[in-house]
Symmetry: C2
Subunit: 410 residues, 2 copies
């Protein structure tokens, strides 16, 4: 395992990202599933659940209401429950500070406001890996709850044995989910977007999914709100000579265990640190981990910023100062103590983050993703100046009645 020149990082991450959040093949498959669900509703969803998740699935297994969710939650072991309680409390406290506030401008001629309201119905995707991901239910559910969304529907794939994960059920109870729809991928997205007999359509779909779910989110995005198109996970770690090699190795291995498509890179200006990380990786070294040598730490963080990855970790000397140079990233973890995994569970920040370079325009999931804003305008007083100016622009734009409608108010 050799460290490559920093200049290769750009090409390597571009190559890992080739095709974006989904490939043409995945788009075509998602298109067929979306079409089938729009036509056949629950029956089409059940076909995909039987094909991909649980051959023995029955129609009545698809939807759980909040009472049934609560019943399953009772089986959640005490330790897991306490861990989820702590994560929930910290995620709440962080997102609580993002509560939207009305903005207003008043003068003698107008009262103009931009007023937030919660969305009515949101669908949140909670994917499964080898197990259910209760943490993702918290990450999508907490900002929804703080925004005041009226109904939160969660869609999560049915496992092969048909069981309901008690920890997932407990997380859903914490965030007041009203429904668990037990399907994933493109079928769940289509059901949420267009509704089926058992599931009303939602106003917005949030949260990560597999490539088929992501392709489906893009396909339905002219008909329903979506948050972002989250692709495979990414980490660029920047470490100085004084960083703890065995600890940095664990962050890289944690990143690599996200599975297929995950990208994990370490950049350092110190050949010895890179060697120590390689030996710490030892037998666990993964094809998904790449090492790069930079001429100095500033060049390292600039390359990380240029790549605009999901996660950046700054480990060792000068991490705080270097962090100012990372403007393009989903989340930045600053200092040797700041394991990226804290951000997945208990730091309080959201783990639904932009990937694939979309951090150049997209953000972590926020309370604002669960809110819409309405302008409210009330005019009064002497409107002659405003009508004259408005009418002059309207005349220029060929809109005579626009002008007349303003002048009629003077």
């Amino acid at each position: 395992m050799r460290a490559k020149a920093l200049s290769s990082l750009r090409a390597d991450i571009a190559s890992a990202r080739r095709g974006g959040a989904f490939a043409p093949r995945e788009r075509t498959a998602a298109e067929a599933i979306v079409r089938a669900v729009r036509r056949d509703g629950d029956a089409a969803v059940l076909r995909t659940v039987r094909k991909f998740d649980r051959p023995a699935a029955r129609s009545r297994d698809l939807v759980l209401d909040s009472r049934t969710i609560r019943r399953f939650a009772r089986a959640c072991p005490r330790d897991t429950r306490r861990a989820l309680d702590l994560a929930y409390a910290r995620i709440r406290e962080f997102h609580d500070r993002q509560r939207p506030r009305e903005s207003a401008r008043r003068d003698r001629r107008s009262d103009a406001r931009l007023v937030p309201s919660p969305l009515d119905r949101v669908g949140a995707l909670v994917p499964r890996g080898v197990a259910a991901y209760p943490s993702t239910a918290l990450m999508t559910g907490v900002p929804s709850q703080i925004a005041g969304v009226r109904q939160l529907v969660v869609a999560s794939p049915m496992p092969r044995d048909g069981s309901v994960d008690p920890a997932l059920a407990y997380a859903l109870e914490l965030v007041d989910a009203t429904t668990l729809y037990r399907a994933g991928g493109a079928a769940a997205v289509a059901a949420l977007a267009y509704g089926t007999t058992s599931l009303g359509r939602v106003d917005k779909i949030v949260g990560p999914g597999n490539a088929y779910a992501t392709a489906a989110k893009w396909l339905v995005s002219a008909d329903v709100g979506i948050d972002a198109l989250q692709g495979p996970s990414e980490l660029i770690a920047v470490a100085s000579s004084d960083a703890d090699a065995s600890v940095v190795a664990l962050d890289l291995l944690a990143q690599a265990e996200h599975g297929a498509g995950a990208f994990a890179a370490l950049v350092s200006d110190d050949a010895d640190l890179l060697r120590r990380v390689v030996s710490a990786l030892a037998k666990q070294r993964s094809a998904r981990i790449s090492l790069y040598r930079a001429k100095d730490l500033l060049a390292a963080v600039q390359a990380a910023d240029d790549a605009a990855p999901e996660h950046v970790l700054l480990a060792g000397r000068g991490a705080a100062a270097l962090s100012a140079h990372v403007r393009h990233a989903g989340a930045v973890f600053i200092g040797m103590r700041s394991a990226v995994a804290f951000g997945d569970y208990v730091a309080g920040t959201n783990h639904s983050l932009p990937t694939g370079g979309t951090a150049r325009w997209s953000s972590a999931l926020r309370v604002d993703d669960f809110v819409r804003w309405t302008s409210r305008v009330s005019m009064r007083g002497d409107l002659r100046d405003l009508a004259r100016a408005g009418a002059a622009i309207a005349a220029h734009e060929g809109m005579r009645y626009h002008g007349a409608s303003m002048e009629a108010r003077t």
Copy 2:
């Protein structure tokens, strides 16, 4: 012209919206243009400009830099300039109150922040009707400027005679646009999304366009940020018996002059008011204006809210009280003085608004559309409790290195 039952409003607006912001035919055409521009760059853009806008267009006409924009702006007549100055000042004051603020949560174990940064490069679409729309340049440019976007590129179709509209140039100067790309529709969107020889790619495309531009925005939205998919304009006016019929008629006519696809509806509980509006419309009555009779004003505003249109106008008695019932709309104009057209130019609010029912999840263009947010996490102190909780959830989710990486920090 007869008033219909209120129950028909839902079907009428659904029918006007059928097919969403673009039709399959428009999507197919946009797809071909996007593909051509990705392959041939400026040459493909020039072909579409010659075909749809100006047959005599030359390659060197495509891009104007800020110096050239300033030169054209000098020809802007004094009256138009003063009108644009007033509109600009008011739009600035309204949007200034939307400046994004960092949120933070600090305790003895963590410092977690959500930090805004302006986007680097934004492309704004400014469509043409019978003339250029300098007002749209202000509506997209002002929030971009307040956010601190580094480079604002504006794309606007070339008129048949090849001229540059001095008022548009003046508006572009006000908002510090660096470049005017003289193309519209799907070709402009593709050029902004993927870049050409003469135009670097942008991080996000904002602003309204024709159906081909909107279809193209959707098509490229997996590769670049977009604000929303704005379709044809909509107004639902609710008027009580005391409303001024001749003035309400002007708002409906102003709405109808938005042209093909525009939807203008008046709802009232008073047959006499409806009759007076019909006679005020007189010969200008338009096929695009529909009238509805409601049993009372509350039913009228509830129907408007249910339709989630771009604009709602509340004219006459009780407008302020009724406005509380309109939660789903792009913008609400409250009271007899509040011409919808004020919101298009000088109220200060943004005229780039959600249409087609997307107000259920989408919002007016805001400063936040020009900003992205990065999480910044710094852990410290005694992390044993957090690592234990995090590791418990990670273990449940099958992520052993996630747990180990947190425990290594204790």
